[in-house]
Symmetry: C2
Subunit: 296 residues, 2 copies
């Protein structure tokens, strides 16, 4: 029971009553219809039709086949409508992945997105490991660092996370503020992973002697907690720094660029497009807010 096209042909012959009518309805030549029927009967070893010069009348076997094919045709029609519409409606699941560090910034955007599109179910995966878009693990990934260059991934700039060098008030009270020349005299907080590719860490590696880093944390949360406790100077996003002291003029090379990454196969779908535009709108808002803060 392979060759579903032949079943479809037989179904149309039952529906139309004649080979010619079925051929017209199918948009093929009537010789093709005859050949399909013959092949199907040959393969099944059962006569599906009684042939006469005025048309084909189905046998019981043919009528049985037509009933099954009828439901199949209906189901496929519905499916076709669903699939075609799926490109234009925003429904189903939206899977977004990001580094845990971005959770606080990204989550509100997703919550708002879900409110705007009540029919989507948002799944937000935060994990240190890199989810693979080409395996369908997520629709949208938020990546940091240099622009990803994997093939089949469409990459768009998201936002630049502004980074500053901060210290707890009690630390400043005790050790003062650093200058470019006195960096080695301060205590720094860094990442445990020495090979971190964060730009501010590259800067730290270059300008701060290794022995000046007295505290190392596995992730940004630990780093922030350490800085807040007065462990030393540490780089972090400006938004995370409330209550801390901005101890040095910000340098653009510290900033971490983030990217919105989608798989090319999913990028065109309306759902992903809607999510991307929501993210980009949020990024615009953030930029405006920062400028507002700067201006004020």
């Amino acid at each position: 029971m392979e060759h579903w096209d032949e079943i479809r042909t037989a179904y149309y012959v039952v529906r139309e009553g004649t080979v010619s009518g079925a051929a017209d309805a199918l948009g093929v030549h009537h010789a093709t219809v005859i050949r399909h029927i013959d092949a199907l009967e040959e393969r099944l070893g059962v006569k599906l039709f009684q042939r006469h010069a005025r048309g084909y009348t189905p046998t019981e076997a043919g009528a049985d086949l037509a009933r099954v094919a009828q439901t199949t045709d209906d189901q496929f029609s519905q499916l076709g409508g669903r699939l075609r519409g799926q490109g234009e409606t925003v429904t189903g699941e939206l899977v977004v992945t990001a580094l845990p560090s971005f959770a606080e910034r990204v989550a509100p955007v997703l919550v708002q997105f879900q409110r705007d599109h009540p029919e989507v179910q948002v799944r937000f995966l935060t994990d240190a490991r890199v989810f693979r878009l080409e395996y369908g693990e997520a629709h949208v990934a938020i990546r940091a660092g240099s622009a990803p260059e994997e093939p089949d991934n469409v990459v768009q700039p998201f936002f630049t996370m502004e980074i500053g060098l901060y210290a707890a008030p009690c630390y400043v009270e005790r050790f003062g503020r650093p200058t470019m020349d006195t960096l080695g005299d301060h205590r720094f907080v860094g990442f445990a992973d020495l090979r971190s590719r964060a730009p501010f860490m590259r800067w730290q590696e270059k300008h701060v002697p290794l022995e000046a880093v007295h505290f190392r944390a596995t992730d940004d949360r630990g780093l922030i907690a350490a800085v807040r406790s007065g462990a030393g100077l540490g780089f972090m996003a400006t938004c995370d720094a409330h209550g801390l002291v901005d101890v040095m003029d910000r340098q653009p090379e510290w900033n971490a660029q983030t990217w919105l990454v989608t798989h090319v196969d999913l990028h065109r779908s309306a759902k992903v497009q809607a999510a991307l535009s929501a993210f980009k709108a949020a990024a615009r808002d953030w930029r405006r807010d920062e400028k507002g803060i700067q201006l004020s």
Copy 2:
């Protein structure tokens, strides 16, 4: 949503997870599978799979399609089993048509056939008009007269209905028995339709003057009733003649040959074959009984 074969291909890709696996399972080259998927996605305008070097993972659209195609595959498999088995099982309806004259002889055979095959529903159509096998009006037709020669009909001899010339006892008492020379002096019962092609009627036309036919009936039942009432001499089947007087030596040329006719498209099916063998067995029994009667 035409091209059902492509849907089937996509379904197999979802099932197997890889294009190559699907190609093996389908028995085609993997290039064909790729082309089918590409064509289907192109036509639908929706990505069904995310491609990567280790295989194809379905998108939501692909998974949706696979669910529908799964049920379709199941239904088609069942259908295939049903249809293939249909050639070998004896179920469904069996439609037999015959002249009303044959009803009494044929009906018992059909009753027995239904007892032997409890799953068939017998429909026995008796009508003067000729049912057309090529339109699917019946599976088996019982015809009388010269062998039918329509194309696409397979014809087998059924039984020869032995015909005798009979009269009611009261008629014989009054007029005696006819000889070949005194036929014109007797009263005959015939068919109203002068163009009857029954062989005994042809004989009667040839040897009995028209004016000797004093009674004409539309069918054999009327004829028999007339003879029984003493209207005159009449031809009828030996089996219908109980209580009547066999007034003349039977001549073979009176006998009516009957035929079992089936349409070639249905002839090979087990159901029709079973019905035919039941009829032929019955005919054998009848011949044996007649010979037994002759011998006794």
